[in-house]
Symmetry: C2
Subunit: 598 residues, 2 copies
């Protein structure tokens, strides 16, 4: 049976020593989150994830969710108790608005906690995860009355939330939405239509479910200009705030799917359900994108989370499983064989996963911190700069961390040989669960298009120039530091590849946009490598500084990071030149074929 | 529901125009297999795969196998009828020894048919697939009496076969085997022990199951020097050849696993079962390796097979699914959206899969032809040269075609967005099924070690020098052909990278074998790219020659191949330099950490 231990020390090291979290105490909510409190919160969250949430992961996968004939959905054994514990622990409201019962703590903390919960049980963590997205949308776009009506119970976890975008004929292209909203005399709307792939669409964990639904108001313009966002509770809400009767919202069926079996993926039917407009008519996509950006970072966390828990279990197996002998002679001569961790190819796989995990965690927390700054700084320019960086990194994180995170679960599974393919060992579940993260909240190909088509050119390339500037400054400031050369050298050539690729797009994609599309996925991964390479360089510098200041019994632990970082530079950064080579070949070959030739 | 159409025209083109199959008519069995007969066999096999085997793939996955309390195992609905049809069609004996009822046709044909059957239904195709491995081992290592006793029924498909290697504590390291064989007065042995992960270990498809079992004779030397191979029928066989009673062989349980659900993966208990020695005492591994080499090529075929069927279904979806607009403006202005095939990133994915599939198919058939030559040529030197090439390519094919084949099923699934994650669309089954091919018959890390540790240095590097020589000669002969430059240029630099990597091993791995282990997987993939690049160059030349000779209405079909080949050269060959860069970093970083640091 798989196990999990949350990497609290790594998170703390990143926050305190790499990202200089304590320099942001002037931001709203940061002063309250003292280093001691942060550590206490992370350790408490880790305990809950390890002790309550993780033990349900395998049994929940096996049992799955069940839909009764009346359309109600039950979660697996133990989920309701665990969810109640989660809510009572206040985990759902950690960063939410204090005016509605939240604790207002930095979102970067919530991001760290999300990783732990998701590593422990990704399908379980989605229930509060979707609620958090709905809370974000209501907080930013809801009226004061709507906030007062929904947020307190959602933040407390008594009610949960969902996002309803997809319809059978319409996924990426939301302009095709057909769900109808008919205005009523009292200012509400009657919502009718079918939504599919609705995660946590129905379940027995909460008293009510608050659905955020994209629909088209009668007579609205065609396409994306005619989409509005509505809040549609599963059960009506009485004037005194108590829960009333059914609102015509039912789960028509549960999808049979590859993984995340304990999260109910529902076909949702809205049959004249009463809903209320959020924000302005026909401006629903803008509000939905608030939710989606939040959700995309959340999905990136899922990619990391499965990579991390898969790594931990693969390491335990590689230390325990004895089979064959080291290439350099027996390391374990008293036993029948050596543990497979003696083999360089096994270490190559494991180090590749961890070298990714540590950099990915750094990049997520770095981005989440920019998210906090973008919402909480008093200085407009600072807010804007951080908002730029978060916007730029969102598709990179979502695409790269889920593509590579998934690949890592496969690699970790491989360490188990045949046992990795057998359900009881739990490794194949990580693969099946991680797989969805590449698909939902915008398939990774869409993330790549968002990066090259929108985030790169936005505001004359302001965001990407700022990123290049920051990495360039780091390289300049540390160029003379020969102890960092193993990090700054590969980072410099990776950055050059990224800059050349960016220049190639500028020269070749304006006139011929297919050249951008043809290189988009390679560019996204090239960007991810440079982003993670930058994080490793920052980590290496922080390790150096700490050791120079006297790290005591932490010194070995810190030095180990330098080795994983060196591995990243040696083994992963060379890929940047292959990405650049591919990008530079453009779209001609792939666009030259007629459809019939495929 | 997924569909499948066997690529018979591609197979014929490869055999006739690229591999010059007709030049081998002097080989035993080849003269009988005239071009007309070959085409007839392939079309008939395709029909059976498409019409009988494929329709059971999804239902078989859903239903799975069932074990009754008495230990007997049932296959899903329809499997018995399909298997009977397979056997009656003579598909199991296509290349088997005519002395025992086989048709003695070239193995390269069987390889092509195997691809079709496996694309149609990988789990089903494993039942006859394992039988074929057992037939090969008995043919080469069994006594005349054993052959007469077992082969006719196995070749006819009335009896099936299995391979029993793995035990709970022992997978890769067969020296740890504990299953016991106790000699009896009549020359037989009593076999006792437990084997795990036995594919097709029990089922209801055949009258009897002939198990080939690795065990240790009482008092045999420790380790791999004390392993012998036994034939152990499920039911005893009477002197008249009829089937008798139980032989103490039972399926203790069925494994719950990630995929290939309709193939019974059994824990097999041998409880004093009567078995007979195959070949010599303590020489069991040699005989088993005969079976394994055969099986490894078979597993490589599985990697291709899932990549091919996943490609076909992804293309159909990409042509059908309308969503969004082309980057260059609407292509389908009368409809609400364009088919997603207009997007370069979608084409990138699909072309990557197909550019792999066509080259992989060529490389498999090229290797299988070498296999035929190695067994059937009258000239010893020719036999040896082909045996060298087959030995060299076996780990490359197994490792690369399953790693990349699996990745391709994931990429094809991605084209479906959320629908790809839903069981009913069938794409996630291809992913789950393909996953096992990277693990069994020697996990791919073991293939990489076999390549760098055994196949490369064998006979002073004779095999690899011969491969370099052949590719070098091709490049020299076609260096002046400017129409081929888009192929020969990238192939040349890929070959140079491979030669540099080989040289790096020669200089750095003799004294420090961990340097070979640390680069083994990269080297295997580098080798695979050069092998596939060579195949594309050969295909391009064959296309040129055919068009020059007048290809008529086949011309467009042939030219399309040039585009997929160009894509391979532009987008896949750049990876060779990244592999070389990684290999050249050696083992120091990864071996420097103590086990506790992981």
């Amino acid at each position: 049976m798989p196990s999990y231990s949350a990497p609290v020390d790594d998170t703390l090291f990143l926050l305190n020593d790499v990202l200089d979290y304590d320099q942001h105490s002037s931001l709203r909510g940061f002063a309250d989150a003292t280093p001691d409190l942060v550590e206490a919160i992370l350790r408490e969250g880790a305990k809950f994830a390890e002790g309550v949430v993780q033990p349900l992961n395998q049994s929940g996968d096996e049992e799955g969710c069940t839909r009764s004939e009346d359309g109600s959905v039950s979660t697996p054994k133990g989920y309701k108790e665990a969810y109640t514990g989660f809510s009572e622990g206040g985990w759902g409201g950690l960063s939410a608005d204090p005016d509605f019962g939240g604790q207002g703590l930095p979102h970067v903390l919530t991001t760290a906690i999300n990783e732990y919960m998701s590593s422990a049980n990704m399908a379980f963590a989605m229930y509060p995860g979707l609620t958090a997205g709905a809370i974000a949308a209501l907080t930013l776009h809801g009226s004061q009355e709507q906030k007062a009506k929904y947020l307190p119970n959602m933040i407390a976890g008594t009610w949960t939330g969902t996002m309803n975008l997809t319809e059978p004929h319409c996924g990426t292209d939301l302009g095709l939405i057909r769900t109808k909203a008919t205005p009523q005399a009292d200012g509400s709307y009657k919502i009718s239509g079918t939504k599919i792939f609705i995660s946590a669409g129905d379940h027995d964990l909460s008293e009510n479910i608050i659905h955020l639904v994209l629909a088209r108001i009668d007579g609205a313009p065609e396409g994306t200009q005619g989409i509005s966002l509505f809040v549609v509770p599963k059960l009506t809400i009485n004037d005194d705030g108590s829960v009333g009767g059914a609102n015509g919202v039912t789960c028509g069926s549960l999808e049979h799917k590859m993984g995340i079996n304990s999260n109910a993926t529902c076909v949702m039917n809205y049959d004249g359900s009463t809903g209320w407009l959020i924000g302005e008519e026909n401006k629903g996509l803008r509000a939905m994108f608030t939710m989606m950006n939040e959700a995309r970072i959340g999905v990136a966390v899922q990619g990391l989370s499965q990579s991390e828990v898969a790594y931990q279990n693969a390491v335990a197996y590689a230390k325990d499983r004895i089979q064959g002998r080291a290439l350099t002679g027996p390391k374990n001569p008293d036993k029948a064989a050596d543990p497979i961790l003696v083999h360089p190819d096994v270490r190559r796989v494991l180090m590749g996963i961890r070298a990714f995990n540590e950099a990915a965690r750094a990049l997520i927390l770095w981005t989440a911190l920019h998210g906090d700054i973008s919402h909480r700084s008093e200085d407009e320019k600072t807010r804007q700069a951080s908002d730029d960086m978060m916007g730029l990194m969102t598709p990179v994180l979502k695409g790269v961390l889920t593509d590579t995170g998934f690949a890592n679960t496969v690699n970790a599974q491989q360490m188990f040989g045949g046992h990795g393919y057998i359900t009881e060992w739990g490794m194949e579940q990580f693969v099946r669960d991680a797989r969805i993260s590449m698909i939902y909240e915008g398939a990774n190909g869409i993330q790549a298009l968002d990066l090259v088509g929108r985030k790169l050119p936005a505001n004359g390339g302001r965001a990407v120039m700022s990123f290049f500037g920051e990495v360039g400054t780091f390289l300049q400031e540390n160029g003379e530091n020969s102890d960092l050369a193993a990090f700054t050298g590969p980072l410099k050539s990776g950055l050059e590849d990224l800059q050349k690729a960016t220049m190639w797009f500028m020269n070749n994609a304006m006139a011929q946009p297919d050249n951008a599309g043809a290189g988009s996925t390679d560019y996204m991964h090239l960007f991810g490598l440079v982003g993670m390479g930058y994080m490793w360089a920052k980590i290496a510098k922080a390790v150096q500084d700490k050791i120079a200041a006297g790290a005591g019994d932490k010194e070995d632990w810190l030095k180990t990071k330098l080795t994983f970082g060196a591995f990243f530079m040696e083994r992963m950064m060379p890929e940047t030149s292959a990405h650049l080579a591919r990008i530079s070949t453009g779209a001609d070959t792939m666009m030259s074929l007629p459809a019939e030739a495929f």
